[in-house]
Symmetry: C2
C-alpha cells in the first residue's frame, strides 16, 4: 500500500520510535531518508510537514504529522486491530502507562538526549563537546532527578510500569 | 464525594493544568496544599505518591498518579461523560491534537518554564537569577525553534490546532 511515508534518518532515535511502532503494528511504509548533515531537514518537503524543521515527519494519505510521540500514538489508535496491541482501553491502567510515558518524555529523555548528543554524537561528527557548565547540569539533573527515583535501596524507588499496572 | 485529592500549590502552573481539567469536567476534589518553600514536596506523603518529589500528585480512590499531563489525560478519559467534552474519538483528529500537545510539552514549555523561573519566580523569591549562559540558550531556543515556527509573515508559520483539525 505504502500510503504511509516516514521522513527520517536511521541514525535518529526519535525516528526509531516511529519505525518501532510501525513494525509492531506490521504496517508497510515508505522510508524517505533525510540527510541532516546537508541540512535537508530545514528545507522542503520537511519544512512544510514540520514547521520546526525536524525529523521524523509522517504522512498517512492526506494526514501529515510530526512529533514522534504523537505519531506513535496515532499509529497505535488508527491501526488498533493490526499487529501488536498497543492501546489499553481501561482508563485506570492507561493512566499508569501515561504517567511513565510522561516520565520518559519529560524526565528521562531531555537528560539522556543531552548526554548522548554531547558525549556520543558530537565526537562522532567531529564537533566540539559543549562547555562543561550545561553538561554538568544535565548530568546533575539526570543523577538527582532520575537516579534519585530509581536507585536500588531507596525506599522510594520507581516501580516498573508493569508492577504499577498489576497493582491497579 | 471528594475521593479525588490534588496535592499541589496554587502558584504552580503544572498543578493548574490539573485544576483546569477538573473544573472543565465539573468534578469535586479535595485540594491538599503543599508548601514547597518548606520542602514539603520532598517529604511524605508526596514522596510516596511521586518518587521524583514534585507536585502535582493525584489520588482518585486507590489510583495514585503524578505528571500533570498524564493526570489531565486520565481525567478526560475516566470522566468522559461529565462536563466539557475533552476527548476526540476520531483518531485522525486526535492525532492533530496530539501533535500540538507534544509541541507544548516538548518545545514550548521547556523554554517558557525556564524563562518564567529565571525572570519571574526567582526574583519574587529573592533568589539570584542563573548565570547568563544557560539563560541565553533558553532564549535562543525559544526564539529560533518556537518563534521560527510562529512568526507572522513566515511562509511556514504554525497553524492553530483548530485550523489543522478543520482541514482533516
Amino acid at each position: 500500500m505504502a500510503t504511509i511515508k516516514v521522513y527520517g534518518s536511521t541514525y535518529s532515535t526519535v525516528a526509531m520510535r516511529v519505525f518501532a511502532a510501525l513494525y509492531e503494528k506490521d504496517i508497510e511504509f515508505e522510508f524517505v531518508p533525510v540527510d541532516m548533515r546537508a541540512g535537508e531537514h530545514k528545507k522542503e518537503p520537511i519544512i512544510s510537514l514540520n514547521p520546526f524543521g525536524q525529523i521524523p515527519a509522517f504522512e498517512d494519505g492526506d494526514l501529515k504529522l510530526f512529533e514522534s510521540r504523537a505519531i506513535t500514538q496515532y499509529i497505535a489508535h488508527e491501526y488498533f486491530d493490526k499487529g501488536t496491541q498497543l492501546v489499553i482501553r481501561d482508563s485506570k491502567k492507561m493512566a499508569i502507562l501515561s504517567v511513565w510515558t510522561e516520565v520518559e518524555g519529560q524526565k528521562f529523555d531531555p537528560a539522556a538526549s543531552k548526554l548522548t548528543w554531547e558525549l556520543g554524537i558530537k565526537p562522532l561528527l567531529g564537533m566540539p563537546t559543549d562547555s562543561a557548565i550545561p553538561l554538568s547540569r544535565a548530568i546533575s539533573f539526570y543523577a538527582t532527578d532520575f537516579f534519585y527515583a530509581t536507585e536500588p535501596g531507596k525506599t522510594n524507588k520507581i516501580k516498573k510500569g508493569n508492577e504499577f499496572i498489576n497493582r491497579v
